[in-house]
Amino acid sequence: MLKTFKEVFIILVISVIAGFSANALSPNGVPIIGEYSDRLAVDSTSKSSGVKQEKQRTKEGFIKPVNIPVDATKKFFEEGAIFIDGREPEEFSQGHIKGAINVPYKEFKDLPTENKLEKLKDIPKNKTIVSYCGGGECEISIDNAYEFAKIGYEDVNIYLGGLLEWKEKGFPTNN
């Protein structure tokens, strides 16, 4: 048994050293402690409180989507923002935020850029976009928002609360 633990210990030490070194060198590395991605941090101070937020650019050069809480989402809804629902058509048809457009992430992500732009040609690049999905930490809202930002949309927001929270609040939906 002692032999087993000794071997386990050696393998673990090698793995920990290699793992942390690789993380430091990897372009996809994560902070050791904290959220796996700053994509998840909800920005509750910006648009909801009327404070104009500076647009940040990512390393890749596109404008970073912003996470917004429910009150900001409602405000954008009233101002006529375009709501993008990233779920599958079957789920979308069972109910969605009123007026939302269905852009299923699973298919959308693999389209070539020109096809993405063609599909979205009716939505101007400077229009406020709110990306959402089912809620309950469903994450295609984030992934879809980044797809939009990458092809040049300038004001992309992520509503992580999703349909779940929207319905709980009793806000308008299409069923």
Binding site: E7, G19, N28, E35, Y36, S37, E88, E139, D143
Partner: protein, 154 residues
Amino acid sequence: MMGLLSNKYFQILLRLIIGGLFVYASLNKLFNQEAFAKAIYNYKLLPSEVVNILAIVLPYIEFFSAVFLILGIYKKGSSFLIGGMLIVFIIALTRAYVLGLDISCGCFSLETVSEKGDISQRIIEDILMLIACVLIFFNADKKNFTNNNKEIQQ
């Protein structure tokens, strides 16, 4: 039957299969910490403070255990570690299956598991691999015994 299970060549075959599968499974995670962290996060099994550390280290534990297993170095330690990881995977997958976590959402970034059928298949695969690990673990020292026996017989 026991003879076959502890047969030297059968043991090598088991080690190559399990080691090969684990090297393969670890490869696209070695430099994809963010995507793997997201996949772990989606299991909603661990506090978010632990998710990143696991995403940084776990692929390397998989990789090195598998490499050692293939090379036949530290067979006990590597099969113990792989078996331990498989037990954790089986528990996490079963829990995700029972709770129906996120499977309609396309939320698994590495997209290895997306349908409920895939999850059940993965659980069965993991159980089979766990059985193989147990066989490797308990036969890791057997080679010496067989040699000793041969020597005694001679």
